[in-house]
């Protein structure tokens, strides 16, 4: 299955968030991840999609969300792009700081980072791209088969 790539263009709606989560769950499951990992991947994608729909595109019907899944030798790579103003990483508070514990928002990026092996966030004036990596079992970080 390595090398497969699937790409979707979706509206900026709550339905997109659910679809992104369900698609991630299916592809993660087909990629051989266990139940807990599938849940983590699906949840990370859901949180990234929420950010894209709400904070990036702000439900703008003219703006789209791009969702891409790629299975490399070493990873399942999921990319979510929006067409918003670009996420300001400096403005993301630490949700574990005592003064932020009782805030009602601001945990999405934290959960994404908790659940994935690597996260790349690339904001620009054209929008934000977030890349999520989950290592495939049985391979080392350089993509070679790990010794048994």
């Amino acid at each position: 299955m390595a090398g497969d790539r699937f790409s979707y263009k979706l509206d900026s709606t709550l339905e997109t968030v659910d679809n992104a989560e369900q698609t991630a769950s299916r592809i993660a499951s087909e990629s051989g991840f266990d139940e807990d990992e599938v849940m983590q991947i699906a949840m990370a994608v859901r949180e990234a999609a929420v950010n894209a729909v709400l904070h990036g595109n702000a439900y703008d019907p003219e703006k789209k969300i791009e969702l891409e899944f790629e299975r490399t030798i070493s990873d399942l790579v999921i990319t979510i792009r929006d067409q918003g103003k670009g996420l300001d990483l400096a403005k993301i508070p630490d949700p574990l700081a005592p003064e932020n514990l009782l805030k009602t928002s601001g945990r999405g990026i934290f959960l994404i980072r908790s659940f994935m092996d690597e996260v790349q966030i690339n904001p620009s004036q054209a929008g934000t791209e977030i890349k999520l990596f989950k290592h495939v079992h049985g391979t080392s970080e350089d993509g070679k088969e790990a010794p048994q």
């Binding site: 709550l14 968030v17 849940m39 949840m43 859901r46 949180e47 929420v50 709400l54 949700p95 574990l96 514990l101 009782l102 805030k103 009602t104 928002s105 945990r107 999405g108 934290f110 959960l111 908790s114």
Partner: protein, 114 residues
């Protein structure tokens, strides 16, 4: 499955049995409305039974925090009952497990209200 709730009264405590998902959109709104409705009726001892809640996202976590602070700000108490492993783990990694008063036994939880 979206969140479904039913509320029962036990020794002056409103126990809200929740099942399904607490996520952005309908799930969060359902929870918000239930808590708001109870507070409007003067019910300030609230026990959220999350034993059948199999999924919660960051918005759902935010809604639990909001419910907790709203009830507390009105002089009431909100506790959580019977967390599933997934919800328990989420509250652990977000450091909210020690913020909420979490119980496993319903009878003990009800007795624990002031």
């Amino acid at each position: 499955m979206n969140l479904k709730t039913s509320t029962r009264q036990v020794d002056g405590v409103a126990i809200v049995d929740c099942s399904g998902r607490i996520t952005l959109g309908e799930g969060s709104v359902v929870l918000r409305d239930v808590v708001k409705d109870l507070l409007t009726k003067g019910q300030k001892k609230i026990l959220l039974n999350l034993g059948e809640v199999n999924y919660i996202d960051s918005s759902g976590i935010g809604e639990l925090v909001s419910a907790y602070t709203t009830v507390r700000n009105q002089g009431g108490e909100l506790k959580l009952l019977k967390l599933t492993k997934k919800v328990h783990d989420l509250l652990q990694i977000t450091k909210l497990y020690t913020v909420f008063d979490v119980k496993d036994d319903e009878t003990a939880a009800v007795k624990g209200f002031r």
